[in-house]
């Protein structure tokens, strides 16, 4: 799960090395527990049948309950059960862990920071210039470029995407050409936990995923298809200008 860079920036002066260590230790703890790549992790024990969910840790049970709730909320598009019958909750754990780490900093009295794990971001307060955090949406076709800038306060920003040719939707009346293939979907939500889980589910819905986000109160989305055409929800653009 955590084969990804984690970045935390704290603007507030009283942050120490210890503060950052606590944040990264928390992610390490989550990785130890939830990584399906680790033979010693709790999730691996569950998948091997050597640990029953009922005997698992409270954290594990909370995560499974949230995954089940998300599955219901997305009509089955969010599902941690893999085709071979194993469980992989990483589609939810990452956003949840970022949110928990942000709450940990809040509890310590920090006001102005962000936490970024693999491109999913929880900002808080303002940046070093005293302005809103400016979050670029990466160009899925050119990794070094941004194609949009979002200005956020406490909103979580999550992007789901793939560089693997996963799904194709064909129009049989148009010579079986793929008509739409979604490569990137960014969701802005009330926090990174909710933005991430709904981004994962909406991405799985294909082109209609943006309509799912459109109908979710408090969420905005920006979807990019293989032809480099973006579709945005009606309220998305209010995030593209910094607040005066």
């Amino acid at each position: 799960m955590m084969g990804m860079p984690i970045t935390a920036e704290i603007v507030d002066q009283h942050a120490t090395e210890e503060t950052f260590n606590e944040v990264f230790d928390y992610f390490a703890h989550i990785d130890e527990k939830f990584s399906t790549y680790k033979s010693t992790s709790e999730i691996t024990a569950i998948n091997h049948g050597t640990l029953a969910l009922g005997d698992a840790s409270e954290e594990m049970q909370i995560v499974f309950a949230m995954c089940e709730e998300t599955k219901t909320q997305t009509n089955g598009f969010f599902d941690i059960k893999t085709p071979n019958g194993k469980y992989d909750p990483s589609g939810l754990v990452k956003g949840w862990a970022i949110w928990n780490a942000a709450k940990l900093l809040e509890k310590k009295g920090f006001e102005n920071f962000y936490i970024d794990a693999g491109g999913d971001i929880q900002p808080h307060g303002h940046n070093a210039d005293g302005k809103q955090w400016a979050i670029g949406i990466k160009n899925p076709f050119e990794q070094s470029e941004n194609i949009k800038v979002i200005y956020a306060d406490e909103e979580g920003v999550a992007t789901s995407g793939t560089y693997i040719r996963g799904t194709h939707i064909y129009n049989p009346r148009a010579g079986n050409q793929p008509v739409s293939e979604i490569v990137s979907l960014t969701v802005i939500g009330p926090n990174i936990h909710d933005a991430d889980r709904f981004a994962t589910a909406a991405f799985a819905m294909g082109p209609s995923g943006i309509n799912f986000i459109e109908q979710l109160p408090g969420y905005e989305g920006y979807i990019i298809d293989k032809n480099k055409i973006a579709t945005m929800t009606t309220g998305f653009e209010k995030y593209t200008n910094p607040r005066a």
Binding site: T72, D79, P83, G91, N127, K148, Y163, Y170
Partner: protein, 163 residues
């Protein structure tokens, strides 16, 4: 309550798609490179609904109309009543020659019987060609390469769409 709201959203998306499919009469087939169905080719499959039309089995409160997904047969089908935000919604579709020829609403949130189709139309979302931005940013949001969870979620959704 929230799950009912989302169920409503999915129903609305489904209805909007049905209307779109009906108007354009251009069947759209959903498939994967690995998906093979010896009994039908994409051209004869007929309209295939977007994956939003299939709910997980054993999930009656949020299930959308039980129209077959990959192979529509001629007839008139009425879906289960679903909670659609402001009231109940029920959809009836008529299939002729594998294509949707009519969509009606025995129950709709607006008036409890035959509703206005336009009442369910989604807003037309703004589109643009993506272009590089030069504005300074503090952080970058992008998909990680190890999108295994996504792949699995997607596989799960497509498995439902084919069932």
């Amino acid at each position: 309550m929230k799950k009912y709201i989302i169920a409503g959203v999915l129903v609305i998306a489904f209805v909007a798609y049905l209307i779109f499919a009906n108007k354009s009469s251009a069947p759209v087939a959903v498939t994967t490179p690995a998906a093979t169905n010896p009994t039908s080719s994409p051209a004869t499959t007929g309209p295939t609904s977007l994956p939003t039309t299939t709910g997980p089995s054993g999930n009656p409160p949020t299930s959308t109309p039980t129209t077959p997904v990959s192979q529509y047969k001629n007839g008139t089908y009425t879906g289960a009543v679903a909670d659609a935000f402001y009231g109940n919604l029920q959809v009836t579709v008529t299939i002729q020659s594998g294509a949707i020829t009519d969509v009606t609403f025995p129950q709709s949130p607006s008036n409890g019987h035959s509703g206005e189709v336009s009442a369910f139309a989604l807003p037309v979302l703004k589109q643009e060609a993506i272009a590089a931005q030069s504005a300074n940013v503090n952080i970058v949001s992008g998909a990680t390469q190890d999108s295994q969870a996504f792949q699995q979620s997607l596989a799960s959704a497509l498995a439902q769409a084919k069932s």
